[in-house]
Symmetry: C2
Subunit: 386 residues, 2 copies
């Protein structure tokens, strides 16, 4: 397992390796074709990124031979300039189109009635309807994506350097009275500048840079979206999030922080969060069942009397997106394995006081795990004064 | 029809009017429920914006009574702070979750086996599978969205002022040698600043600001995505795009422009594009069949000998997104009606020379149409020198 930042586009061989793994699962499930509509799955196999809109892009993977890309005329050269694997183009004119020239007119004939066709659970009903043969819902591309290749690890290591830069800027800018929009603008610019310099041919359709700080009056509620002019508040805990997708690789770093002073009650709660977090890192080893980590970390919080203050799982996977399989959560019975990349972010939340959570992007290695994001972690390092 | 910029959030009455129209169509189609998973449809009816990820949000519209929102615990206060209509919350714990606590465990019991349930063509297969009763694929929310209320017109008029500002900045910055990223950064900042000042409680999850210029070496290919450091080239035509979604209202403005000089061959082609465009405006009246506009505009280009240079339809609708029903395209047999908002953007494209296209956001009125975006249109106004 090589752990060095990479910025080059994927080679044809890299994409070939991914396709081979998908086809192994297709063979096991006796599929003649697998159909992908998910832009992230299509990106994974082709390096072409699109946004879902009324003109569909559909990737058809036969069990043997060249992949077929159903796409609109207007986008065909866009696909050709980005795709880094062989593709047979199945081009339709427009959406809508005159009778006989619609996307389904070129899509339906790709299959025979007797074919067995794997589909994603995300496949839209409108495309499912036009898919002939026997369809089997099976998320095999997502399953392959769970274990990263050395190339993907390298790209993720690089993306982590970008969010590290964003977090550094966030910690510089976050002071009492500063509005969220100032922090947001500063960290987005810092990350974008780094990404653009280091990946000059970056695909902005596969890139996103964001971050914010939830002051203590709302940090108990991590999925509320703060309004832009909300100002930083003294005391704490404030919860900060920096996330990015850098040319197709999604990662995050999050820190709990304090401004001017640490309220008396906060020290103990911060320590309990850190205790749950330390246990999660200890358990994050190849072979551990994913839900077991969540279960044991929850027990730390439950034993401390804070069962009601747990409002989310311990972590989630990263890859092309910043939120994907596998999950460090009750109900995920898979085992951790080398090459998985996950967040470790147990948290506890108190209405009227705030929330406590650090998150990092963590690689599972042969022997344990390796944190790929870097920022201060201890309470005394996370107190900032004007 | 009032045509004044608005920036306030929608009232409960406004959302009630929209729901009523959806329910009229539900009644016509004898539906007991309509299920919406599309974030734009959910936003349209509730004012809550979400991004699709592994934790589903599902809006269930019964033929009578309060709407039900299936959502994860972690997001429930987020929904409550944004939604501006009554909602019954159907909350599940997490994704994944322990046996019996998953989203489908709370979703399935909302229906009986005999119910007739309308679904979107965008509904994911994985959600369709858990939807009991008889499902009928019918995009009724999209159908209602086609005709805008006075409130939506006002919000769109405001969004157009934002893209006008972006286009102004783009025309200021676009000079020979300037890299695309400089133009992009400048226009994004200009639009974002205007939007933030005028809509201080803007929902950034329902907002997006973007734009770029395709220099003549690539402007024949409008859906190729230029790389950030590509520099502006002399001559032309360059094609520029400025688009924004401002607190949930998507619009665009696009201009063909020239740097330093206008090549000899370009004048004639620019004029033909303008001739097709003028015809489209003339035809864009209540009662005109949408495909008829596309057909007649195409004929202008065909008569001039440029059939092969038409690579897209004449226009598309705007609303919550920058691309939606209805379409000024062959195959769309609906009629234009007051309250529709569409792009008018016929174009012709020449490999090795470039593309010719202006686009504006246009409101269909009782008597004709009204351009809501504003920027120079004539060739002599669109030549910029250092």
């Amino acid at each position: 397992m090589k752990i060095e930042p990479l910025t080059a586009k994927p080679s044809k061989e890299e994409l070939g390796t991914r396709l081979e793994k998908v086809r192994e699962l297709m063979e096991k499930q006796k599929l003649d074709y697998y159909v992908s509509f998910s832009p992230t799955n299509i990106y994974y196999l082709t390096n072409f990124a699109n946004i879902v809109h009324e003109r569909p892009f559909i990737l058809v993977i036969p069990k043997k031979g060249t992949l077929k890309m159903v796409c609109p005329l207007l986008e065909s050269t866009h696909v050709k300039t980005r795709a880094r694997c062989d593709l047979d183009y199945v081009i339709y004119y427009e959406f809508p189109a005159p009778e006989g020239q619609n996307w389904y007119n070129v899509y339906r004939p790709l299959f025979k009635d007797g074919d067995r066709i794997g589909i994603e659970s995300a496949m839209p009903a409108g495309i499912l309807k036009e898919t002939r043969g026997t369809t089997v819902m099976t998320n095999i591309i997502e399953e392959v994506r769970v274990i990263k290749t050395d190339y993907e690890i390298g790209r993720t290591v690089h993306a982590c350097l970008v969010v590290d830069e964003g977090m550094k800027k966030l910690l510089e800018l976050t002071r009492v009275g500063v509005p969220i929009i100032t922090i947001y603008s500063g960290l987005v610019q810092a990350m974008m500048a780094k990404a653009l310099i280091e990946v000059p041919d970056i695909n902005l359709m596969a890139s996103k840079f964001q971050g914010a700080v939830w002051p203590p009056s709302i940090s108990h509620d991590p999925h509320i979206i703060p309004t832009p002019f909300m100002a930083m508040e003294e005391g704490g805990p404030s919860c900060s999030i920096v996330g990015a997708t850098v040319d197709g690789y999604g990662v995050e770093i999050e820190r709990t922080l304090f401004l001017e002073y640490v309220p008396d009650h906060a020290k103990k709660l911060f320590d309990i969060m850190m205790k749950g977090r330390a246990l999660a890192y200890k358990l994050a080893q190849p072979g551990t069942v994913l839900e077991e980590i969540d279960k044991q970390v929850r027990q730390v919080f439950i034993d401390a009397g804070y069962e009601k203050n747990i409002i989310h799982r311990t972590g989630h996977g990263f890859g092309i997106t910043g939120h994907e399989d596998p999950f460090l959560a009750l109900g995920d019975k898979r085992k951790l394995a080398p090459g998985m990349i996950v967040s470790i972010e147990p948290g506890i939340y108190f209405k009227g006081q705030g929330g406590y959570r650090h998150s990092d992007t963590v690689l599972i290695t042969e022997n344990g795990n390796l944190k790929l994001t870097h920022a201060p972690e201890q309470l005394e390092e996370l107190l900032f004064k004007k």
